[in-house]
Amino acid sequence: MTDIRYTSEHEWVKLEGDIIWVGITDYARNALGDLVYVELPSVGRKVAKGDDFAVVESVKTAAEVYSPVAGEVVEVNGTLKDDADRIKKGLPEGWIAKIRISDPSELEALMDKEAYDRYVAGLG
């Protein structure tokens, strides 16, 4: 059973033991439009909660991707380098990076699907 959580910055987070997979939600992808480039973090990079660790470039603009929790980048999705639009596929192919979390209690601040859907609906 997969457990997916969401941030208010429109990242999705898939939990897998002490590792999280991070990607961006449909809402973010629709707002950005066609994606043309993704700047990935280096493996081993330590991130604090809220750090921008990747940049998603659409035709229109550049958007930072923020780390939902503190941790260490353990893997990046290299296939995005040549096909940024793959992010559009969402889970599971559209992941950007996997992060080993240092403090599991930080996950509690993330929204579940119902809460996130309500949050997005409220954005109008």
Partner: protein
């Protein structure tokens, strides 16, 4: 702030467009297929753009041509009715108040299309310099639609029955109360239609329902104009940039030396400008954006990008900006500072992609 709407805002929403704010207007950024498909459609078929946010004005009166020659570096007295001219309004310092297209409708009437974000400024500027006997009228109740692409002519004939086969590039013809000019901002053959707002929806649908026509939004409009090296006001040109450094020296008419700001402009024509607008093509990975610094091999700053993005045609990032004269030569290697990383790039001649507008008719 509430954004203004165009006569077609409801249509875009109905079509599922992603809407966004541009120059105070709520405008379609892209429709369901996305801006890349729209861009390619314009380059191969025909795209339909709502550009009703742009300003439209009449400049009328006995001395209108002389007045326009005072406000712009172009010539107007010699222009026959139906001729359209791309030009700029210059300020006292030789900077650019706005860029615009001015078409002569008849002996005493000119019709101009100005930028959305400069409407208030331009109209104040035009009225401030108004001589006796000339008037400026804001055509607030007209919509503006652009139909752009190699299939535009065929679609216009099929959908509206307008015979535009003999209309040359940069010419305007009136079909009743609708102005059709062979102009655009995409580098493709195409037309811009000025339409009384109550007819805008009907004309939009008539064109859109043509097999070769799809709606296209402002994001595609931006990537299309970027590939052509066309400047965007407020980004690539502004109050401080002169037409010469902007690479628009060709609009300066030989016979016109009495326009506002002529001192600097004519001096720069003679001696060269202190910086030059150029095209930059990224060789490395990433997307160049407005504001990125341009560095030389030693890491010294040689310029700044004023526009940047992704070229769907070249499948790489391109940008435009101003550089010191020594870095302006095509082929010059530069580095674009993207979030602290110097990405390799090269200065190239504009446009990035060859224009396919209909060639202007040779003067007899």
């Amino acid at each position: 702030m509430t954004e203004k709407e165009t006569p077609l805002t409801g249509v875009h929403e109905l079509l599922g467009a992603r809407m966004g704010a541009f120059a105070g207007y709520r405008m379609p950024f892209f429709y369901l297929e996305g801006s890349l498909k729209e861009h390619q459609w314009v380059r191969t078929k025909a795209g339909l753009f709502d550009v009703s946010h742009m300003g439209q004005v009449y400049i009328q009166g006995r001395g209108a041509a002389e007045y326009l020659e005072r406000l712009t570096p172009s010539s107007f007295r010699s222009k026959a009715p139906g001729r359209a001219t791309y030009t700029v309004l210059t300020n006292e310092e030789g900077g650019i108040v706005d860029d615009l297209i001015v078409a002569r409708l008849d002996e005493r009437t000119f019709y101009a299309v100005i930028n959305a974000g400069r409407k208030i400024k331009d109209i104040d500027w035009l009225k401030y310099h108004l001589p006796e006997g000339v008037s400026v009228t804001n055509l607030d109740s007209r919509a503006l639609i652009a139909l752009q692409g190699p299939a535009a002519e065929r679609a216009l004939i099929d959908a509206l029955g307008y015979d535009v086969t003999d209309l040359s590039y940069m010419r305007l013809v009136e079909f009743g109360d609708i102005f059709v000019s062979r102009t655009g901002y995409t580098g493709e053959d195409g037309f811009e239609l000025s339409i009384p707002e109550e007819k805008a929806e009907e004309i939009w649908y008539q064109l859109m329902l043509h097999d070769d026509v799809k709606p296209a939004g402002l994001v595609a409009r931006d990537t299309l104009r970027l590939e052509m090296g066309y400047p965007l006001y407020g980004h690539d040109i502004d109050d401080v940039t002169s037409p010469v450094e902007a690479g628009l020296a060709w609009i300066v008419s030989r016979g016109n030396t009495g326009f506002i700001g002529a001192g600097r402009v004519l001096r720069e024509l003679e001696e060269g400008a202190v910086r030059q607008r150029v095209g930059v093509r990224l060789l490395g990975k990433g997307v160049a954006r407005e504001g990125c610094a341009l560095l030389d091999k030693q890491g010294m700053r040689v310029g700044t990008l004023t526009s940047g993005g992704f070229s769907p045609e070249l499948k790489s990032s391109i940008g435009m900006g101003y550089v010191d004269p020594q870095a302006a030569k095509p082929g010059t290697k530069v580095f674009v500072d993207i979030r602290g990383a110097g990405v390799e790039a090269v200065v190239v001649e504009l446009p990035f992609v060859r224009s396919r507008t209909k060639p202007p008719q040779k003067a007899a």
